[in-house]
Amino acid sequence: MGRDQGIVTHDRVVGEVIVAQRLTKSYGASRGIVELTFAVRAGEVFGFLGPNGAGKSTTIRTLLDFIRPTDGSVSVFGMDPRTDAPAIHARTGYMPGEFGLYERMHARAYLEAFAAFRDGNGRAQIDPLAERLSLDLDRPIHDLSHGNRQKVGMVQAFMHEPELLVLDEPTQGLDPLVQQTFYALIDETRARGGTVFLSSHILPEVERVCDRVGIIREGRLLTVDDVGDLKAKALRSVIFHFDKPVDASVFAPLPSVVSAEGRGDAVAITVQGELDEVVKEAARHTVINVETREPSLEEIFLRAYRDGGDP
């Protein structure tokens, strides 16, 4: 390893906050995670992108010592979750997409109890956070809507201003306005030097908030990349409609073209990266219409998958 793993200097973590080395969790034939190796750097927002069932929650649950790896290792702040969970948890905030609360408690009492579990850390932030989220603290939790319950979860995750936020599909069921506040809170965490590990199956969300992204599918990490690079390398499809049939093979030699196919007066082209050359080639003919689509998550997956994880 020989790398700097979450060393604290001047109360700021430098280096890598999370380091997974061949992290493996086996359940049966098809589930679990297989030899994940990645690092989350201090101060970054790391997206963990993958479809449902890919192993995102499994990975996150090993970080928090809810489950134990079958093989390989993971460290958080340079510590082993298996032996140092309380020390790690003291510096971490966690919010899953689905969770239970204590139904009979009032939201305020619940959050005050959670601040007490953290030696009082975060108590002062309960009211300001609730106000930002328009959460009524003085109601019993069983009276709260799904969205308001999510807000209670958000407050307990953010209130102690943790150095590391571990968020597992946290925006499920958040209304768009609250979602914006949520993204703002993530931005603020990064601004004060905190680190965020966010799992999601929603590409626009990852694009919006993350610096780097790891893509996981069927328990295997396909790629880790800057969000911008990933998008630039992603496949997208463009369909040019011409005034008369055009030979699709004229597009094929262009470096950015993956495939080109004639369909009557139209040519459907799959492009990787910039569109410039393709557009210039198409402009030599009479273009009636252009259809283009942003790459979907599936297409990015497909690309990462096809190349064996190193685009």
Partner: protein, 263 residues
Amino acid sequence: MSALLGVSMRSQRRAVIGWAIGLAAVATMYAAFYPSIKESASQLEGYLQNMPDAFRNLVGTDYTSPAGYLRAELFALLGPILFLVYAVGAGGRSIAGEEEARSLDLLLSTPLTRTQVVRDKALALLAAMTGLAAFLFVVVVVVGRPFGLTVPVQDAAAACAMMLLLGLAFASLALAVGCATGRKAWAYGVTGVIAVATYVLNVLAPSVAALAWTRPLSPFRWYLEPDPLTTGLHPANVAVLLGITVVCMAVAVVTFRRRDLAA
């Protein structure tokens, strides 16, 4: 007091009040029947002579005395049933219930250790059940008096203390099964089956020679023999029931620390 103990105790408050009302109602009802039972004492004693041995083991041989009546109606069957239903329910819910409701993840994402969580849940159970047993003691002493159903205060206290110890043994068994499996159904099922089986064994063993050896295995034997209502506390009986509790708590902590939590 730790914050988690406070939260856990508060979560049981309503249930404890409900069960206390239930126990008081049952105790009052039986106390109210006592004067008429006492009037027909001679007939009833004759009737009991003709009952099977197992029944007499359970009810005792002096049904019409205050201690005998209390034993038969409250401490031999209905009291333990009510007490154990609470104990098993609360014990099973403590960890497995939170795990199934998915509130355990957030709790364990704080700096609290799994051991601390089990400890505070267990202490909350102890507090709730001690409260119930103490309340039962007060009801037995206070409500019995106007109906002539009086036993020495220290004997009533001994019987309630033994019921508490029996309840703690089964509550910690349910807690341990819940800690080991994460499933309420397993906690209720395993503990319920063991409670019923050991109860039946304790009733049958004295009169069925082939089962005699099983009797020391039953917590109910240590709960009720010798009868605390007439003979007070016995160190060996207290030690056996406390021992079961201690072993179950150790199993609860060890299994809960070791395993993966359900997603």
